[in-house]
Amino acid sequence: MKLNFRSFTLQSFFLSLLSLFMMGSFVAFLINPSLFDGPFFDGFRATADFLSASRFLPFIILGMPTLSGFLRLIFNQSSLTLKDEILLITDILIIAIIMMIYPNVLAGPLRFEFNSVFNFGFSLQINMLSYIFILLAAILWFFVMMYAHEYMKKENHTRRFYVFLSLSYASTMGIFMAGDLLTLFFLYELMTLFTYILVLHNQTKNAIEAGTEYLFLGILGGFSIFIALTLIYPITGSFAFVGAHDLLASEGPAKYFIALLLFMGFGMKAGMVPLHVWLPKAHPVAPAPASSLLSGIMIKVGVFGLIQSFIYFYLPDPFTSRQGLQLLGSILIWLSLITMLFGAFFAFMQVDFKRLLAYSSISQIGFVVLGIGVAMVQGEKGGPGLAGAIMHGFNHALFKSLLFMVVGMVYIKTHEIDMRKLGGLRKKMPITFVVSLIASLSIMGMPLFNGFVSKTVLHHAIADAAKYQSSAYLWAEGLFILASVGTVAYFIKMNKMVFFGDLPPALEGITFKARSVYAPMILMALSLFLLGVFPRFLSETMIVPYLQTLSFDPEFTVYGTLNIAFFGASELWLILGIWAGGIGVYVLSMKYKWDQVKFPPWLHLEYLILFPLSALMHGLLNLIDKDHDVMDLPTYQSYQVRNYKRTFKDHLVAFTDTLNRKYESLFIKSDALIYAIGLTLMVIVLSIFAILN
């Protein structure tokens, strides 16, 4: 076979070998740092020390992706291979830098402050939590970019797409590194704007609608964080993420209000019910690489924000009174359980491949937030809950972006996203099938895959909460298991519908050769497997060292994360039960056609919110002007034809417009009268004063 060294496939293969080598040595370093003693490695260490001490580091980590997007724009005339190489090579450098600074981050958080910006300072910090997320983001970005080369060949507007993709990547990295709430908010808003362009990339009607909804919910979320930060500032005197809990703890009801606002702002980004409405619309319409990153890392922004604000504003040090914290935590737990079940249920009802995955993201984010809630409820025994949350966030990023890659592969091969029209693809695309199977097993919580690890930790955490706090959490544990059953059911359904069964005749002749997409997919599937086989690796090297720096009980943290017998009999029996349940649900639903139930449209959340508002505007309009043009109230039938939002805005505009016209014409028609009355009144008043004086 003749090798063509200018082909993207070969180059990306070498790059993935390089990345594999880098990750291998990184893992080796994590396991046994003494392997890397010696004069040869002193250069690396010196570089890492220099970078950590200088203020360049955040600029490199944030600037390189931004730069790569614009470089791609500048080299627009060059070959596609070169343009995509730019993205990969810059990201390899970032990964290398991030890996090198591991010992420095382990020794203590790195802070970078720029005090003249914003008048309140712009600061970035890399602690172990940020480190986990930026490493994850950098690696995911590398794989997704390698994958995107093939996918984006057929798309329009690619220049715009890559610029905004890299900008959203940079701002996401920035959020993970934010050192104070104002910086975080700044980057949060930027990210909303940049990802908005990714969502409406295709510029179809659905895409524009989803984008608009995403943008406005993003702005609302931003405003709620904005109020929260203006509330926090007078209490703590700064926005910085340094322990402010004592000041906030003495504040009383205000802290609950702040917490609520932060939940709203970050929960919206994470896709928590009931602020999830944008997610099932936005993720499916974006191109596969974008939805892969959106579901993989960008919704983790919400999770990260929740964890960060919880740790810095609500985690007492030392634990004195946790009354308020428990209340907040229990609210978060029940909300996240609703999110999990809601997501799982609706994922099961979908026939659209991408929407299924989007609802699955909502459900999995519920698992993550559950961990944060448990950490709040448990107080000093909260280590395992937080560890589970971080771990599941990490794992979910890996398998969900892999699943979106699978969808992308199926889509570019078949141009079909409706699962009812797919089937039997396992013979046509065996590698994709295996990868999809691995990712699905992982998300379903199969032992030997990474999803199992984090779900086990979370399950132990909620069980401990029931043990130490209140027996009400036994119900929570039950619902947790129910959601896991749901996950198993809808992923069986998905794989069955897409890869098993008979191949539809329309898909007989599909052919598609693109070897460059397989390297990232296989490597990611491999990482899912390895993280599952070594369940303690991630927590041992990164999460537990991070949690030890917080005020949690260190022994309990180790007990709840590392000392679990992952492959013990009780865990395996539980998994067996969950699988039996999942298969049962699937079989029963296939028999009785549960997944084809149609809900009445008035049950839709948006209709329930927008209808009263429209009705209010309608009533007000009737009040000020009886004979305006007839405008019907939105009915749920009109919701079905998808113009319900327009009716709400129309009502608002009609009302304000009529009011305006009435007021102005009143003023203008009676110009002379008003002047006359005004002047006479003034003269009268003046003369009265003249008489009085």
Binding site: S116, F118, T230, Y675, L679
Partner: protein
């Protein structure tokens, strides 16, 4: 006695130069020379204003007696951090706009009117600086009159039917306002027997307990008069017509600085003439909060229903006046600084929006919001600049609009009136509701297959727009550049 410095002649020289330019304009036959003369003159003025600003910043305020008469009857100019800063701001702003208008005027105004337009503008600048500097009420009143009349001329300079209508309405409302201000001045003169603000304030301290009705009536008359002139909500009726029918550069000046001058006069009189105790005793803050809140909400809501871009921007100005008034209404140092920051920020943001909307209208003939569909591909640069302005208006962090809102919110928190922020949020969301659809329409139209083609923007216009964008981002990221001046200005208002 502070030793006399030749720098203290600068304010008078500035005003004389402006009058001189206004008078010399019609005598010069060549339009190019007129434009050049104004450009050079304004640049010199801006530099001199900056020198004066730094002089007051280092060596404190100074007063200038015109003709050397005694304070009680003479004309007094008081140049302190407050007036010097805003004089500099006005001159800087209009110099940039002037640069823009050198090209844009050819597009939207009949050639026969150019000289008159520039003369009127110079008169307008003259009166604006006069209002800021003067420390006696009668002089201030005269300048207010000159400003109203010259602004009326500016609006009608395009010689179209709608301009005349708008100018007439503007004239009627402003005359009413002027009369009201005059009554107020007369009422308070009756009490104090002087027109010098500092002397009146001293005498009012004793007189207020004896004649509270007189003072409150005078405050009411002056307040309503200035409220009409600065288009505070129920009195805003003249503004949308006037601002939307004026030509591009004039609408930027009208929206950017002129209504702010009246607001600044209002707050100056409240602090310097009536003093804080009287104002609080008369419950003026409550009135201001109510007016400001209603203005913010209704202005935004009315903007939502507009069909024309420039009218929409004009209604947005109505709501932004509410923001500034809300900053003033809490009567604290933080509130003042935030409101001043808002004034500067809004001038540049709204200026940018009016300039780009005016370009779209005069060069490309795009007037209505409906016509913006897909124009992001035809005039991408203009629409990108418009987007920056819209982001500033909505308050996306990084732009000066966000910094202004943040400072306002923190100022409300200081006096534990956090609920006032709900106005900011609601109005901000409505802002997003009417600004973003334009941008979405123009860039992300359904199934648009057109290719980006960058249009050409004439150098002078491009330079001004670029400066505006630069200032918006610079103030958004490094507000520390401006804040020392604003803090000194607020201090000089509070201190006296």
């Amino acid at each position: 006695m502070i030793p006399f410095s030749w720098l203290e002649l600068f304010p008078v020289l500035q005003m004389s130069l402006l009058v001189l330019m206004a008078l010399a304009g019609p005598l010069i036959p060549s339009k190019g020379v007129v434009k050049g003369m104004h450009l050079v003159g304004l640049t010199l003025l801006t530099i001199s204003a900056f020198i004066v600003l730094n002089y007051t910043h280092t060596s404190g305020p100074f007063a200038f007696q015109m003709g050397g008469y005694e304070r009680n009857i003479g004309i007094e100019l008081l140049i302190d951090s407050f007036s010097a800063f805003f004089a500099f701001f006005v001159l800087f702003f209009v110099t940039l706009i002037h640069l823009f208008s050198m090209t844009s005027l050819n597009l939207d105004t009949p050639a026969s009117q150019h000289t008159a337009y520039y003369s009127l503008l110079s008169l307008m600048y003259f009166s604006m600086i006069g209002i800021l500097y003067s420390n006696d009420l009668f002089n201030m009143y005269v300048f207010i009159e000159i400003l109203s009349l010259s602004a009326c001329g500016i609006i009608s300079v395009s010689r179209k039917k709608q301009n005349y209508m708008a100018a007439f309405r503007y004239l009627m409302m402003n005359t009413l306002a002027s009369i009201s201000v005059m009554f107020g001045i007369a009422l308070i003169y009756m009490l104090t027997g002087s027109l010098n603000v500092s002397i009146m304030a001293e005498r009012l301290v004793e007189l207020y307990p004896m004649y509270p009705v007189n003072v409150s009536l005078s405050l009411g008359f002056i307040g309503v008069g200035l409220a009409i002139k600065s288009a505070i909500f129920p009195f805003h009726v003249w503004l949308p017509d006037a601002h939307s029918s004026a030509n591009t550069s004039a609408s930027a000046i009208l929206s950017g600085v002129i209504i702010k001058i009246y607001l600044l006069t209002l707050i100056k009189l409240l602090y310097r003439l009536f003093t804080l105790d009287v104002v609080i005793d008369l419950r003026i803050p409550v009135v201001m909060v109510v007016l400001a809140g209603v203005a913010m909400l209704m202005g935004s809501a009315f903007a939502l229903g507009q069909k024309e871009i420039k009218r929409m921007l004009a209604y947005s100005t109505v709501s932004q006046v509410g923001y500034i008034l809300l900053g003033f209404s809490i009567f604290t140092w933080g509130g003042l600084v935030a409101a001043f920051f808002y004034i500067v920020s809004h001038a540049f943001v709204k200026g940018l929006l009016f300039l780009t909307a005016g370009m779209a209208k005069s060069i490309h003939g795009i007037k209505s919001i409906k016509a913006t569909e897909g124009i992001g591909y035809k005039i991408p640069l203009t629409m990108m600049l418009f987007t920056v302005g819209a982001m500033g208006m909505v308050g996306i962090p990084g732009t000066s609009g966000f910094m202004a809102k943040l400072q306002l919110s923190l100022a409300f928190m200081e006096v534990s009136r956090g609920y006032l922020r709900s106005f900011l949020i609601i109005s901000g969301v409505i802002n997003a509701l009417y600004f973003f659809p334009i941008i979405m329409n123009s860039f992300f139209q359904e199934d648009n297959k057109e290719v980006f083609k960058l249009e050409k923007i004439p150098f002078a216009m491009g330079f001004t727009l670029l400066m505006f964008v630069g200032i918006i981002f610079a103030l958004g990221l490094f507000p520390g550049l401006l804040l020392p001046y604003l803090e000194a200005a607020a201090m000089s208002l509070m201190g006296s």
